[in-house]
Amino acid sequence: MDEPARYRWIAANILPYEPELRGWLRRRLRALGDNDVDDLVQEAFARIWAADFATIRNGRAYLYATVRHLLAEYARRSRIVPIELLGEIDSLNLISEEPGPERRVGARQELDRLRVIVAALPVQCRRVFELRKFEGLSHRDVAARMGLSEKTVENHLTRALARIGAALATLPSTGEVTHSEPPAKRADDTDHGND
């Protein structure tokens, strides 16, 4: 797999589960601040990147397994995770490997969310993003079209990606998509055939 294909693999197999992972970490491990969650997610992506994707049969399970290892390491170094939470971390083992259909947000819903997020960008930032992403113009052509420097185009795109990435990585606000807390709920179940 070449590098672009590896990014696509991450996009298809890991990114969809980041929102629920962040939600779970925030709710269950209250000792974690936002920065800790960001650190964990970044460390997890770094480890997954180092893996041989051909051996990963379930991206979601692999993501949780990776985070569990990381949490255990943090705990051993008694950095951020109180020791009594380790039992709960172990329960992450019980996550069902098969994501239920409700956890797959439909492409149309994703598109609707994206529209809302893009609409909230500052006007010039939004226009630059649309020209680059929706109309496929190069940085240079966007710059020419809008009378901006390429550096400014880059700044706008950076801001757009950072904001959109952060927004898409959190769970949709209530009412948009409904699903339960899979890991926490399943922790008490004896099997995972009850979806």
Binding site: Y7, I10, Q42, L161
Partner: protein
């Protein structure tokens, strides 16, 4: 000061544009090596940027559909189909996309000029002209047609549209399309595929054309299926359902029309209909179909192809929901589930029996 995520976003944007010189490459490598979180944030940002292309492709097809509803596009002006897979790639063919806009403007100007010179005649010619729409491999394209109906083209599909005052004639030349038909009692909406036809007034249904048969799945309302000639010949006021060679297909029903045979109509569970139409969301979905069937389906959406090297393996069942253009993901999942190996081999991925590799 910028956070790690913001720095990563900047590097991702620059790398994606192919704008990194040798010095910057080194700078990036140094930054990535400095902290494992940098690497993770960068990988995440690159993946998000790639993922946005998938959404942009959907967005793009929606907005180009809006444009084509305003301007009827004669055949020659139809821009070359652009597979979503190609768009999703880094540096996705900006030239082709850029060419679309001026060409459309030219076309508008052309139509305006014709209007001045030819008056009603050119309008008539335009109205009678047949429009052709195609989708590339891996592309799902939404097209708004003038009467208010919508076509959603699945991968590698082609339709022609011809609107007259009496009839709305659509031909599915190849592939599959979902039709959301604007209600218009005076002009039946007829979809032809091979010798078969589906006739509707206002409803939603999907038609898929394969070598051996035509499949019709109705999601809303009622349609009539039958022979192309029979259905075209009937005026809007006749009640075709009273004819023995024409069958009604209602919502949650599915009809199969093999060549020169009467349509075979049977109920279809809503969950199954949804699965069959998962391509609307850029997905394919299987519930126990053989690997061979699943691979044929996923291959429709991709230029690279999967080849199954073993007949026993080909007959094994597959369950799951996959992104239609994620050939690698599908092969890896199938290999893991069926204790097989997925081996990249040039333009194909081979699935062979073999020891499965496990998680971690």
């Amino acid at each position: 000061m910028e956070t790690i995520s913001e720095l990563a976003a900047r590097w991702a944007v620059r790398a994606d544009a192919g704008a990194l010189g040798p010095d910057e490459e080194r700078e990036l490598e140094t930054w990535l090596a400095a902290d494992s979180r940098h690497r993770g944030a960068y990988v995440r940002a690159r993946a998000q940027w790639v993922d946005l292309d998938r959404l942009a492709a959907l967005q793009g097809s929606a907005s180009s559909a809006a444009e084509s509803s305003r301007v009827a596009q004669p055949v020659a002006e139809e821009p070359a189909p652009e597979p979503a897979a190609a768009r999703a790639g880094v540096g996705a063919r900006p030239e082709a996309r850029r060419a679309t806009l001026p060409r459309r403007q030219l076309l508008v100007a052309g139509i305006a000029a014709m209007g001045v010179l030819g008056g009603g005649l050119s309008w008539l010619i335009l109205r009678e002209a047949q429009e052709r729409y195609t989708s590339g491999i891996g592309e799902v394209r939404r097209i708004a047609i003038e009467d208010g109906s919508t076509l959603l083209l699945n991968t590698a599909s082609e339709v022609t549209v011809r609107l007259t005052t009496q009839q709305r004639d659509i031909r599915l030349v190849r592939g599959e399309a979902l039709f959301e038909v604007a209600h218009d009692k005076s002009r039946p909406f007829i979809v032809h595929a091979n010798d078969a036809a589906v006739r509707a007034v206002g409803t939603a249904f999907a038609v898929r054309l394969d070598a051996a048969q035509v499949d019709v799945t109705v999601t809303e309302g009622v349609v009539e299926v039958g022979d192309s000639k029979t259905l075209s010949g009937l005026g809007p006021t006749t009640a075709p359902a009273s004819r023995p060679d024409v069958k009604r297909v209602a919502a949650h029903e599915h009809a199969v029309i093999a060549r020169s045979r009467a349509p075979d109509v049977e109920p279809i569970a809503p969950a199954k209909a949804d699965r069959q139409l998962a391509w609307r969301e850029g997905m394919v979905s299987f519930d126990g179909e053989s690997l061979q069937t699943a691979v044929a389906e996923i291959n429709r959406h991709n230029r690279r192809q999967i080849v199954i090297d073993d007949p026993t393996l080909a007959a094994m069942p597959i369950v799951g929901v996959f992104r239609a253009i994620d050939l690698e993901g599908f092969s890896a999942a199938a290999a893991a589930a069926l204790k097989a190996r997925a081996i990249p081999d040039g333009d194909v991925i081979r699935l062979q029996p073999g020891p499965s590799k496990t998680l971690n």
